[in-house]
């Protein structure tokens, strides 16, 4: 294909740095004012970045695994986004120092008086927790480097064997991804309320990662293509696929969320319901109802008609909406442990959000400056560009 690399406009870099800078200042202030709240906010931001970074890597693997071609021209976008993983490996370190503030189960006095917690101690202890975090990052980093290396090497060599290798890698990564993302969800979010348990929780977080990482990819893809950074041959057929998948992932999340809620509501066992009741207390009740609308119903109605799945302007707006909805969802999962009486959204939370968005933009820009925006050497690219719905 005839691809000419263009540098991204400087405004992108400025916006990224700007958000990153303001976010950083607010984060430092937040830690100075209220360390525990800041750590909870930090965890919230961290989980969001994991969703985007690791979710994007999963999307890359998914494309190889199922042999999709329509997404090949956009694969670089997800690859760039997955470059958050090395950054996350650094970002997680401060969080490990905040474990005492975040997790009640780390407190020795809690452990002493709680027989249920004692029975979980072989899993929920600080050492094993850190070992798990290390293993999880080892997996993510290893596959990140392998996928990116293969893909970038192909730009010059155009060697189809690399694709074949990535297909094999993707089968292995698919399994490890599900396991590592479940461990991450259980460790960082479920254990905030260490008495609570739900077998669905890993799948719940997994559905959120797909939801948001796909939306971010769709946002970048549409914006880049509308401004002529990708290829003229990308058309409504591709946009429709983005819209349809966003729609589908939204339904998948709703399905998982509904199933989990309904089963807890119906069985009405106190061990499980207290977690939901925490989210029904005070203003959290409105927040929880809002989750249903913000995360599912409104995007569902907007994306339902066929015509709205091909409108680039609407797609980017919905992608931004999805990002906010995922923030909203993670806030719902994490924050009730800290804000017990009702939800609070202040400058501190805003700072962490700005930092997260700024980081994504910056990482994307740095990677986009060096690497082609389209995998020009991929043997599937031609068929991806020619993709037609029927």
């Amino acid at each position: 294909m005839d691809y000419k690399k263009k540098p991204l406009p400087p405004i992108v870099g400025k916006a990224g740095f700007g958000l990153l800078g303001i976010g950083l200042v607010l984060i430092i202030l937040a830690f100075a004012v209220n360390t525990q709240r800041a750590f909870f906010d930090y965890l919230w931001m961290y989980m969001f970045l994991v969703s985007v970074g690791v979710g994007s890597l999963a999307l890359v693997a998914l494309e190889y695994l199922v042999g999709a071609t329509w997404s090949t021209p956009f694969r670089r976008i997800s690859e760039f986004l997955s470059s958050l993983i090395p950054v996350l490996a650094i970002l997680v370190i401060p969080l490990l120092f905040g474990m005492h503030d975040l997790f009640h189960w780390t407190h020795p006095e809690t452990l002493q008086n709680d027989p249920i917690l004692q029975s979980k101690a072989p899993y929920l202890n600080v050492n094993f927790f850190i070992i798990r975090v290390a293993i999880v990052f080892a997996v993510w980093l290893a596959f990140y480097f392998l996928f990116i290396r293969n893909s970038q090497r192909q730009d010059n060599t155009k060697d189809p064997a690399l694709t074949r290798q990535s297909i094999k890698l993707s089968a292995v990564f698919a399994i490890l991804f599900i396991i590592t993302i479940s461990i991450t969800a259980v460790d960082w979010m479920m254990s905030l309320e260490y008495h609570w348990y739900s077998t669905m929780f890993g799948v719940y977080y997994f559905s959120g990662t797909l939801y948001v990482s796909f939306a971010v990819a769709a946002f970048c893809a549409v914006k880049l293509n509308e401004n002529g950074y990708l290829s003229e041959r990308l058309s409504n057929n591709h946009y429709y696929s983005f819209g349809a998948f966003m729609f589908a992932f939204n339904i998948f999340w709703a399905y998982i969320a509904f199933s989990q809620y309904m089963l807890i509501w119906y069985a009405d066992i106190p061990e499980e319901t207290f977690w939901v009741i925490m989210r029904m207390k005070g203003s959290w009740a409105y927040y929880s109802i809002g989750l249903v609308f913000v995360h599912f119903i409104i995007p569902f109605i907007i994306l339902l008609p066929r015509s709205s799945k091909v409108r680039p302007g609407l797609l980017t707006k919905m992608a931004v909406w999805f990002v906010i909805a995922h923030f909203y969802d993670l806030y719902w999962l994490i924050m009730p442990t800290y804000f017990k009486e009702g939800f609070v959204f202040g400058w501190s939370e805003l700072g962490f959000m700005m930092f997260a968005v700024g980081l994504i933009i910056t990482v994307f820009r740095i990677r986009a400056a060096k690497v082609n925006l389209v995998p020009v050497g991929d043997p599937k690219l031609e068929s991806g560009l020619n993709f037609h719905l029927n």
């Binding site: 809620y261 309904m262 119906y266 037609h388």
Partner: protein, 406 residues
């Protein structure tokens, strides 16, 4: 007999099977049909015909062909609107049904849940939505949009149709199109690469006014089938299966009913007698059973008055005594006019009776009143007596009682 009938049937079927289709075509032209060999030829020809301004034409392909809608200048299909509208209807109807049935018409507390709870209603609402959407889509596309079934279309049973349902691509321009001129159309077809042009004539049945669905024979067959089905159903359900295990509503059960005969026991009685010298709980024998009042040493009420005892007494009184004595013991029970009216329990005689005397009457019966010893256990009898005393007092309350109760 049967075998001859079957043979006859088979023969007539065979005969029908081998009979050629003899339907006549009229002289009226339906349209001109062209056959093409390749997808590219047909799609170009279709675009050509549409470009020339023909409106009543159609393309016939063995499978849906990509890009043909655009080539023919067709608008995109509207099936989705019907599906959406009916889907929404299905959703609303299902929710309305659940809400009305479970919280308005027949509210029942189940598992401590609210009468109408959204989480529990979602599964059925979803199924209702999908069901109506699906049915609307299929019926919509077939009947509303494609106007099927239409078995006697002039195109059916032609050589043209035989080719386009198999391996060739066809194009038909209807004769009633405004721009239809025989020679022009032929030229257009042949210049586009058609290897064959056919004339399609209307069937004679297409032109007749008679609608086959109003055919007398057809209607009488439908009627006969309906009546036969109704008779068979009625006979099967109400006569044949009426008393047959297992469709007998569990009338016949593998157990011995009371008062019935049993071959299992030596005395041939299904019921068992109590073991000698035993007494059932609550049925201690009454010493003065069957004796006249005068010879009885009256018992005194062993129960202390309490709210519980009085409520029990009221309940039992209302069940066993009130049919004759009435709810207030005035002898105006529901059985009046069908059974001799008992005297009021508020007369001086009963007011003066000690408790033991009333107990004796309940246990033994009096005049036409039978014994209630079988139905009412001893303690219940005493409870009833307390209740009767309460009734009596309420009927004969003094001013003192009123002030006391304040």
């Amino acid at each position: 007999m049967v075998s001859i009938m079957i043979k006859k049937l088979i023969n007539s079927l065979k005969e029908y099977d081998s009979k050629a289709d003899t339907e006549h075509r009229s002289k009226k032209l339906f349209g001109l049909a062209a056959l093409y060999n390749t997808p590219n030829e047909i799609i170009t020809a279709a675009a050509d015909v549409a470009g020339k301004g023909y409106e009543k034409f159609d393309v016939y392909t063995p499978y849906p062909m990509h890009g043909m809608d655009d080539a023919m200048g067709m608008k995109s299909s509207k099936v989705g609107y019907v599906s959406f509208a009916l889907g929404l209807t299905g959703m609303c109807l299902a929710l309305l049904m659940i809400w009305w049935m479970s919280s308005v018409n027949y509210p029942n507390i189940i598992g401590g849940k609210p009468f109408f709870a959204l989480p529990a209603s979602i599964p059925i609402t979803f199924e209702g939505t999908v069901l109506l959407t699906g049915i609307a889509t299929v019926l919509g596309v077939l009947i509303l949009f494609n106007q099927l079934p239409k078995i006697n279309s002039p195109l059916n049973d032609t050589d043209f149709m035989k080719r386009v349902t198999s391996d060739k691509f066809g194009l038909v321009i209807n004769a009633d199109d405004e721009k239809f001129i025989d020679a022009d159309v032929r030229k257009l077809f042949l210049s586009g690469g058609a290897f064959e042009v056919q004339e399609i004539y209307y069937r004679e049945t297409n032109l007749g006014i008679k609608t086959p669905i109003f055919d007398g024979k057809f209607i009488s067959i439908i009627f006969a089938t309906a009546i036969l089905t109704a008779i068979i159903t009625y006979v099967t359900l109400n006569i044949v299966l009426y008393d047959v295990v297992p469709f007998d509503w569990m009338w016949n059960q593998a157990k011995i009913n009371s008062q019935s005969k049993s071959d299992f026991f030596p005395n041939k009685a299904g019921m068992r007698e109590p073991v000698n010298g035993t007494v059932a709980r609550g049925f201690l024998p009454y010493e003065y059973k069957g004796m006249p009042d005068s010879s009885v040493k009256l018992l005194s009420n062993p129960l202390a008055v309490s709210r519980k005892v009085l409520e029990r007494g009221q309940e039992r009184f209302n069940i066993y005594c009130s049919p004759c004595h009435g709810y207030f013991g005035e002898g105006d029970g529901r059985m009046r006019d069908q059974f001799p009216k008992p005297p009021s329990l508020h007369n001086q005689k009963v007011l003066n009776w000690p408790d033991g005397n009333i107990f004796h009457v309940i246990t033994n019966g009096q005049n036409v009143m039978p014994s209630y010893a079988e139905q009412v256990p001893v303690d219940d009898r005493w409870a009833i007596i307390h209740y009767i005393r309460a009734l009596q007092r309420s009927k004969n309350a003094s001013d003192e009682d009123l002030t006391k109760s304040k």
